[in-house]
Amino acid sequence: MRQKLRRLREEKDTRRLIAVILGGKMLGIVGVLGAMKAFAWLFESAAWAQSAAPIAHKANDFVSPINTVWVLVTAFLVFFMQAGFMGLEAGFARSRETVNVLLECVFDTCLCGLLYWAIGFAFQFGVGNGLIGHQFFFLHGMTAAYGSTKVAFLAFWLFQFAFADTASTVTSGAMVGRTSFKGDILYSIAVSGFIYPIFGHWAWGPGGWLGNTMGWFHGLAGGTVFRDFAGSTVVHTVGGFIALAGAIALGPRIGRKFKRDGGGPLPPHDLTWGAIGGVILWFGWYGFNPGSTLSAMDWQGIGRVAANTTLAACAAGMAAVLFVYPRTKKWDLGISVNGFLGGLVAITCPCYWVSPAGAIAIGAVAGIVVPLGIDLLERLRIDDPIGAWPVHGLAGIWGTVSLGLLATGQYGVPTADGVDKSTLVKGLLYGGGTAQLRSQLIGSATCVVVVFGFSLLLMFAIRSLKGSWNLRLDKEGELEGLDIHEHGTPAYHMEFGQGVSYTTLLGSGRSLSSSDVPRGSPVPADKEPV
């Protein structure tokens, strides 16, 4: 009896053991199969051969290769704008935050690339509904060319990534000098992964409501749709207003007094790089605007866009200098750079549809809008060291609206093979009525209300985090300068010192902490405010 019971118990244990082992094995098998499936999906190791059509290249098809090369060349130019931003932002900042500005641009670019691969492109250019796309996550399910563009899918992706990166970098300009690096990472994820791609879908994505139906405002738009050729709104107003929200949530840098309090802007530390950075941005704009045709077959279009871009920048740079001259009786380099950048931002939306004279008018107005915007920020006690909001936010609005005034009515839209003139874009001053103007106002206002509103929530939320993830650096770190406090090194040295340790995965050669530093020994950079 006893033995029987014991055996039963043993059997029960044995059964449990067997069940556990079997269950574990099943779980393991499912896990491994799942991982294999996920791996195959993510890397498309099995699916690739079928999903991408083999290159069926006909001898007389020169359109796809030429369009692809055109888009790639312009994508490279847009990418080079990062160098321009680095020069401009570092030059206009103080020397104590130079390393911070440079690393933000580099880190944001890396972050943006990965986010745009994983989700950004899917939200923006995937097929979905009017509000968001949900196709091509992790670039899964690519086709040979994107849509009807006759541009290689990944060339199109690269071009759009460079745009997303630009929007993300614009944002940091107004937040220089007091943003913690961890805070920067948090808002950059939101900007590159969500805000920019989702708003971009509304204007440019397949089925996006602003670019196709105008949604609730269909009646108001009078049959036209919101048009933003290369992104005055989609890139620049978005970036500029996120920047403004950041500057408001952060508050001014320590020691920044405003004009009405008897102060003024903190001086830039390197105008050489500031100005060169500005001109590099101008150069990059030759990718930004002409490349947005996505087609070299529209050869008249790309010529017109490039020329209009140039003329708007020239008019704006000159207008800004002349506008500021009577105040100071000085020929102002800083405002000329902000001015021509404002002109470039403004012409970005209408560049395809206006005449050269129209481009000059648009640029000239932008050149005055920018200094007025800088004055307004000074009045409102908002510290924007680089001028990100006047240049990108405000000039972006003007450029977007200007299309509704100055579109000549001669041009339609570029296509892969040439031009589609079935719908011509005509502005108020060319007798096209107010329909296009209304569409532009609806698009621009939507951007300001939705993006600015959401960004304020986001920035204040990060600003209220406890500890080091807070958006704003602590007072000590800010006074010491972000370069030393956040990055452990200033940008400029009188001497380079001597290496004392190198930390590797295998451990550090020597560790320093404030407690074990005897008198007469070096103190770690982050422990000792200099």
Partner: protein, 113 residues
């Protein structure tokens, strides 16, 4: 009689010191970017994952010519506004000045201040 007050301070304290001295009626100062070390013996910074040692730490040297009766006041103001309480706050010293002259007018002594 005139004294020269010289102070080595942390660079980010300079604006506060300047404002405090102006507020106390001291007009004029000369500043120089300097490097040096005191008891902390330099500092370390990082580059590409490694640490390197700097023997000299950037500081600002402030020089103020003052009437000898103001020396203590000026030193107290600089010490009070320049202090963070952490290592590396700097030093202040004062020396007697034999003569002084204003270049524009040729005034000498206390008149030159």
């Amino acid at each position: 009689m005139i004294h020269l007050v010289t102070a080595i301070v942390k660079p980010f304290k300079l604006e506060e010191i300047k404002d405090a001295l102006r507020g106390a009626g001291i007009v004029g100062m000369t500043v120089t970017e300097v490097q040096g070390y005191g008891r902390q013996g330099g500092k370390s910074e990082t580059f590409r994952g490694g640490e390197y040692q700097l023997s000299f730490v950037p500081k600002v040297k402030v020089e103020v010519l003052v009437d000898s009766g103001d020396v203590d006041k000026v030193m107290d103001i600089i010490a009070a506004t320049g202090r963070t309480g952490k290592i590396g706050d700097g030093k202040i010293w004062a020396v007697d000045v034999d003569r002084a002259m204003r270049v524009r007018t040729g005034e000498v002594g206390a008149e030159a201040l």
